[in-house]
């Protein structure tokens, strides 16, 4: 679960990491009031969970409260990568001396958390890693001992911090670790951590992603999950509620399969044959008929979908159950679009029989089926 910048900053503040003075606003009037209170030039930052906000015009500066209101009225209600901006964070504009990068995330290969600092903050850290690998300083956290103060000091020393700022910077890094530990974060990041002209270290931005799998031990995020919901459309919300892995894309071929890898491969085959998938949907292992029915319901509520391609490889999943789910969905929600079904494996015969009796063809090969789905989609698109 991704947290908004302002939510992450609330947590940073609670842990004693300095953040700019500021407040969240959802109207230009509020924005103006906050700018007045701050009493100096402000930054107005669109609150969105997608990356590249700065380049998309989501961060602007205002010299006066009036200008702040003006800018807020432009940003609020506008869209970044298809997401409507409902809130802006209004903060004092900082006098920047330089910008650092501080972050902790998971290193898959090392199977450990890794703390990363860089003297090149304020830009895409992956870009820094490519262009200036020597300016990325990493430390793998001992999984049993955790991240120690001295390790943080060793790290920040390597990017040239000295004196009081060495201690404060190390402390910030240790606090990021405490946030990781306390909230099961999979990423916590300050980019940039700003060194101001009066030599203070302030977290100008904040990213925090909580491990979805650990949310069961963090009831404190229940409310946050609701706000996060705003980034999802109705179908995505429903899928989340039903525990279905669903990702919406911009094509017209609805896709359902069992198993993440198989569904991804299905999408790839559809693309390979020139089609455009409308979504990724994995019903998971051992799904029952109801689950297939729900999956179809979600997919078909997307008006862009012109054909549905169902790819089932029965292992622990039973083909007959999937077939039953398809039939039930068809009866209940009156499916208007053609279905292409590929179905092999456990209880294949029974499944085929159910579908064929209902007049639905079943194919053997996923490649063949993908090709067929694309053909149908193209034909319908051509007709329209």
């Amino acid at each position: 679960m991704k947290l908004y910048e302002y939510q992450a900053k609330e947590i940073f503040k609670k842990f004693g990491i300095s953040i700019p003075r500021g407040q969240i606003a959802d109207t230009p009037e509020e924005c103006k009031k906050i700018a007045e209170e701050i009493g100096k030039p402000v930054a107005i930052k669109a609150q969105v969970l997608v990356g590249g906000r700065g380049k998309a015009g989501g961060i602007k500066f205002a010299e006066t409260p009036e200008e702040a209101a003006e800018i807020a009225s432009q940003i609020l209600g506008s869209q970044i990568k298809g997401i409507k901006i409902e809130k802006v964070l209004v903060e004092e504009k900082l006098e920047i001396e330089n910008e650092l990068y501080f972050g902790i995330t998971v290193d898959r290969s090392a199977r450990k958390y890794v703390a990363i600092v860089s003297s090149r903050g304020g830009v895409d850290i992956e870009e820094v890693a490519e262009k200036y690998p020597e300016e990325i300083i990493k430390h793998y956290v001992d999984p049993l001992l955790g991240f120690q103060g001295f390790e943080a000091r060793d790290l920040v020393k390597k990017i040239g911090l000295k004196g009081r700022n060495l201690i404060i910077a190390a402390d910030i890094l240790n606090k990021l670790w405490k946030i990781v530990e306390k909230y099961d974060a999979e990423l916590v990041e300050i980019n940039p951590l700003i060194k101001t002209k009066d030599d203070k270290l302030i977290a100008a931005d904040a990213r925090l992603i909580i491990d979805d799998n650990a949310l069961f031990r963090h009831p404190e995020f229940e409310k946050t999950m609701e706000t996060e919901g705003k980034e999802f459309n109705e179908r995505e919300l429903k899928a989340r509620k039903e525990g279905l892995a669903y990702v919406e894309l911009d094509g017209n071929i609805g896709i359902i399969g069992n198993g993440a890898g198989l569904v991804m491969a299905t999408l790839d085959m559809v693309s390979l044959y020139g089609g455009k998938p409308a979504n990724f949907l994995d019903v998971g292992g051992g799904a029952d008929p109801k689950r297939m029915e729900t999956a179809l319901e979600i997919i078909l509520s997307n008006p862009r979908v012109k054909v549905v391609f169902i790819n089932i490889l029965g292992g622990i999943t039973r083909c007959d159950w999937m077939a039953k789910g398809i039939i039930e969905a068809r009866e209940r929600i009156k499916i208007q679009v053609p279905l292409v079904v590929r179905m092999v494996g456990t209880m294949e015969e029974a499944g085929r029989k159910i579908l064929q009796e209902a007049g639905i063809d079943v194919l053997d090969s996923m490649e063949e089926a993908a090709k067929r789905a694309v053909e149908i989609a193209n034909r319908i698109a051509g007709d329209e």
Partner: protein
């Protein structure tokens, strides 16, 4: 020979009395896997499909000789179950459980490493050495014993490719699902190293997907020292960045973890990367 499991593997099922645990115990027994005991705390003294159930792994081991376990315990308790298995002295633990918090995974894998215990998964269909031992939830009948080693991050896609292979006449030495989570025990390189030493395995099929850089790391390793032919399929070429595609590990973060990057790296390492799953067997025919 095969790797990891064979007819000497004697198995404890942790979480045997749950729906999944019980169901797959039956299927494993039917396949011929030597399931000698089950563990569910509080259910000691019961039986599941004729397998005696104990409260603790230690207790099970005091009555039965076992060297591996398979875990069906719910995610919040999975780390505890893995640590119990490690502590009791098992050599191999297959973690079927999905949705284990990453922090738990990191810790349990670290403890396993310090104790020289092999962890398969989490979020894996398991491992099968056809005709000898199925330690997992894969449909047994699609596999046939032979010379191809399979290593995969996926479940169903593996069955897709394995049944293709079987139909095309390519049997498997061992088929290993390494798991769809970001942090897993045995990874591609570990598995490749095992297959190097397995004379039975003549070629390896690697099934990867977007997210992380395990395939790139594997490619480096293959280029450097792996001598057997490798064919690969990478799922997720059309996946958008920033979205989790079902598996917790299948996500393109920024510019990292794309299928292109993996395919490029593998090709550069001399791996035969195919575009469609069914092409794997076609390619193997050319190679072998």
């Amino acid at each position: 020979m095969a790797i990891l499991v064979n007819n000497k593997t004697r198995v404890i099922v942790q979480g045997i009395t749950g729906t999944q645990g019980s169901f797959h115990t039956k299927l494993m027994l039917e396949y011929g896997t030597k399931v000698v005991a089950g563990v569910t705390p509080g259910k000691g003294g019961q039986e599941t499909h004729g397998v005696p159930v104990y409260d603790t792994v230690k207790e099970a081991l005091s009555e039965h000789d076992a060297n591996a376990s398979i875990i069906f315990v719910p995610a919040p308790f999975a780390k505890d179950a893995v640590l119990e298995g490690i502590n009791a002295g098992l050599e191999l633990i297959v973690v079927i459980t999905e949705h284990i918090p990453i922090k738990d995974a990191i810790q349990m894998i670290e403890v396993a490493k310090r104790n020289n215990v092999n962890i398969v998964g989490p979020n894996t269909p398991g491992v099968i050495t056809p005709n000898e031992c199925k330690l997992g939830i894969m449909p047994g009948h699609i596999f046939k014993r032979g010379e191809i080693g399979i290593i995969s991050r996926s479940g169903t896609l593996t069955y897709e490719i394995a049944s293709n292979l079987t139909r095309a006449g390519f049997g498997q030495s061992t088929c290993l699902g390494i798991g769809g989570d970001p942090v897993i025990g045995i990874n591609f390189i570990d598995a490749l190293q095992m297959f190097v030493n397995d004379d039975e395995t003549k070629a390896v099929v690697l099934i990867g997907e977007i997210g992380g850089d395990a395939e790139e790391k594997a490619a480096e390793y293959i280029k450097r020292e792996f001598t057997k032919p490798v064919a690969a399929f990478i799922a997720g070429r059309t996946a958008p960045p920033g979205k989790r595609m079902g598996h917790a590990g299948a996500i393109i973060s920024g510019r990292a973890g794309t299928a292109e990057s993996k395919i490029k790296a593998l090709k550069r390492a001399g791996v035969y990367v195919v575009e469609k799953p069914k092409e794997i067997s076609e390619r193997l025919k050319e190679i072998l």
